[in-house]
């Protein structure tokens, strides 16, 4: 029988909904799994991460009360609260 290695998972909250992510995943990944765009642009377009390295700011969200955080560089921790475009 082959062994299956399942990575540990944690739960974060995106716009009030629980999302399960593997430990080590970023908040940007959590938002993608939650199916929400990270933000709305100045003219109202939905946007997701572009650069995934903290340069473009398309992934910014309010994380644990602090606004404008780069979610692609923020590791998920259990119970983190994420809200997009408040």
């Amino acid at each position: 029988m082959s062994e299956q290695i399942v990575s540990e998972q944690i739960t974060v909250v995106v716009n009030g909904a629980s999302v399960v992510v593997p430990i080590g995943a970023t908040i940007a990944v959590a938002m993608a799994l939650a199916g929400v765009p990270c933000r709305r642009s100045a003219s109202g377009e939905p946007r997701g991460p572009l650069c995934a390295m903290g340069i473009c700011f398309e992934c910014r969200a309010r994380i644990d009360g602090v606004p404008h955080r780069r979610s692609c560089q923020t590791l998920c921790s259990a119970g983190m609260q994420v809200s997009t475009d408040d």
Binding site: A42, R60, G65, V66, P67, H68
Partner: protein, 377 residues
């Protein structure tokens, strides 16, 4: 290389030069505007775009109030990108002493027909919930406004062009005087009148003008819609603007239409470089955080500096320059260039056409500086 014959050549396409160009061309003068850089590239680009009625002196009140009403009249014609917003100003009183100042201001403005409203502590908190709790109150001036200056300057230049004004950008001006404006590429403008509206460069073009550079810092944040609803200014602002020697900071925050916050203000003499001064910036930000504690977490996207053109008596120079009968000045507006640009333009155009000014022009005449200097001797 000669470039036409003009009635007026305006040096400087910042907000003041642009306003003068618009007014002069509208009343039928043949106008040219020249600038070494882009439209609104100097203090116009760096400043806050606050349209405010000030009570620092009778002459300052007169010009700012006059100009503010002109902006209100112009408002319906302003395009979207000028971002004109009549959000009003709240002068914030931190303690009872400053509250006395609020009442003094209320009396001053009311007496002169400016609508104002005194806010007590609770009312202030209701209007601006992100201010530190425990403020004594404030004075709301609902007719004050904000806009985005580089686009306002462009709008005025375009209007001037629609009245026939000519625009020459991107070449340095090397000589001004004797009815001529000469550019670095040899272009020569012959004109009846030259208007020096070159702000912090005015003194290089017309040596002897009593204008000094007063450096300021600004910070802009990412979007925080609704965090602040009015332009918020501390009552200590006037102390800072008054000081003629010391470096000073004062709380001054503006909400932009995008929801971004513009944070100021600082004043320094003697610094000639555009470098950001970490020390002054730090004091300015600490001051802002004192009034708006939850500002601490907002994201500061950019920091920049700019130079205001400051005069010894804090009033601009509008009118003939005695040593050269072909030169008029429209400069020295310190931190009130945006507000008073339209009023300046009206006064200047009246002087050039011989018409009656709508407010007394004497307090702003460059001639007064000779008297001032003699008084200091």
């Amino acid at each position: 290389m000669s470039s036409g014959n003009f009635d007026v050549v305006i040096v400087g396409a910042g907000i003041v030069g642009a306003a003068c160009a618009e007014e002069c061309s509208r009343v039928g003068l043949r106008v040219a505007v020249v600038d070494q850089d882009a439209i609104g590239g100097g203090a116009t680009a760096a400043g806050m775009g606050h349209i405010v009625t000030m009570d620092d002196s009778e002459a300052q009140f007169s010009l700012t109030r006059y100009s503010q009403t002109l902006w209100q009249e112009l408002r319906p014609e302003l395009p979207q990108d000028v971002e004109y917003e009549q959000c009003g100003t709240i002068w914030v009183a931190a303690d009872d002493d400053e509250m006395k100042e609020v009442f003094r201001k209320r009396a001053y403005y009311s007496h002169r027909g400016v609508p104002v409203e005194v806010l007590n502590s609770a009312e202030l908190e209701r209007l601006e919930p992100n201010l530190r709790k425990g403020m004594a109150g404030g004075l709301l001036v609902p007719e004050d406004a904000v806009l985005y200056p580089p686009c306002a300057a462009r709008f005025l230049i375009e209007r001037a062009q629609s009245h026939g004004a000519k625009l020459n950008l991107g070449t340095a001006v090397v000589k001004v005087g004797g009815g001529e404006v000469r550019l670095a590429d040899g272009t020569l403008f012959a004109t009846r009148t030259i208007v020096n509206a070159a702000g912090t460069w005015a003194k290089t073009l017309t040596p002897g003008i009593s204008v000094k550079k007063r450096k300021g810092h600004l910070v802009i944040t990412d979007r925080c819609p609704g965090f602040v609803r009015h332009q918020l200014v501390e009552l200590g602002y006037l102390k800072s603007a008054h000081s003629v020697s010391a470096d000073s900071v004062a709380f001054n925050v503006q909400p932009r239409q995008t929801g971004q916050l513009l944070i100021g203000s600082s004043r320094q003499y003697g610094s000639e470089t555009q470098d950001v001064d970490s020390e002054i910036l730090s004091r300015m930000v600490e001051c802002a955080q004192h009034y708006l504690p939850s500002l601490a977490n907002a994201s500061a996207i950019r920091v920049w500096t700019g130079f205001r053109a400051a005069t010894p008596d804090k009033l601009p120079l509008i009118g003939p320059w005695p040593p050269d009968s072909t030169v008029y000045l429209a400069t020295g507006h310190e931190g009130l260039g945006i507000t008073t640009s339209l009023g300046t333009a009206k006064l200047l155009a009246a002087q050039l056409t011989g018409g009656p000014p709508e407010i007394p022009a004497e307090p702003y005449l460059p001639l007064r500086m000779e008297t001032l200097e003699h008084a200091h001797v």
